[in-house]
Symmetry: C2
Subunit: 193 residues, 2 copies
């Protein structure tokens, strides 16, 4: 009996994520969203409720996408291979609106005022770190990484290195791919005592 919406909700969330990713929370106005999503304010609020609610959706989608890509790498190259190829992949910005991590950008922008969006970004980062740790444990089980390291410690450092890489990739005149290679090389050296 009713009328169907004209938009593809999933595609809209992707568009919004790319916009928020590039310009940040405060840097993205509702007018920007209206233009990019091709929606009038009324439709926007009927569909998403608020700017913050949509941002939350994009944060979740961003994180889910990241884990999905890493898990795909693990299937293809094994746990250590995935951890080694992920850095280069993540700053290869063809098709990606920014090189820095959207979760990190959110924490930096909103973390100071204890915003709940920052808290959510933070928890996504922690889940990511957990996935890194799991891959390190699997690499240890396969004897590709020495057992004398603590997987959580390795994951914490790997996450930090990745965040640094992705900030560096946002700078001008920095060869971020070279840094990505160094991070991958560093993991190779974990194989033996």
């Amino acid at each position: 009996m009713p009328r169907k919406p004209e938009y593809d909700r999933d595609a809209l969330i992707d568009l919004a994520r790319d916009l928020f990713w590039k310009r940040g929370w405060a840097g993205t106005s509702l007018k920007d969203l209206e233009r990019t999503l091709n929606m009038k304010p009324g439709s926007f609020y009927a569909a998403f409720g608020s700017k913050a609610a949509l941002f939350e959706l994009t944060l979740d989608r961003y994180a889910e996408n990241g884990t999905r890509r890493l898990e795909a790498l693990a299937v293809e190259h094994g746990p250590l291979g995935a951890l080694q190829s992920y850095p280069a992949l993540v700053i290869d910005a063809s098709s990606s609106p920014a090189k820095a991590c959207m979760l990190a950008k959110t924490v930096l922008e909103l973390g100071g005022q204890e915003d709940q969006l920052a808290a959510r970004a933070n928890s996504h980062l922690s889940r990511m770190e957990g996935l890194f740790a799991e891959l390190f444990r699997k690499a240890q089980a396969a004897s590709h990484v020495s057992g004398r390291y603590d997987a959580e410690t390795l994951a914490r450092r790997y996450q930090s290195d990745l965040l640094g890489l992705r900030v560096s990739a946002e700078r001008q005149n920095v060869d971020a791919q070279a840094i990505a290679r160094e991070i991958a090389d560093g993991l190779t050296r974990l194989s033996h005592p």
Copy 2:
């Protein structure tokens, strides 16, 4: 003949820097600045010209302060010792309004739209990297770091690690001091072959 201003310009710039550092460019309104600097709009614009002009001043002061602290460390602990103690120092946030680097935050917030404030932050980061390289060269001259490494390459990686550390320090539930220790330990391993 004239009347003297009631404010201490230097102190005001410090206050503004701390506010911008914590909340970022868009997150800091003129009302915030008026409150923190205890100035009415007229005085503010007479003194600084615009929000952007003041931000530029705070960016310069932030960068100058960073190089000064690192150079002081070098005098006290030598080039390698300075590079090793800098990471822990920089995330020891007692007295500092945020742990992440203000220059990095600015690049992340404004880098996408080719803002000139982001460009200035970027060039400050490059100057910092140059100082890191100089310290690595001195450490090599003193045989504390092996000569088979390229100082610029070491500096680029060090800068990236530092940026990652400082983003990590902004997160919840992350032992950033542990990461700082790992970075310092990593430098020790550069001494031989």
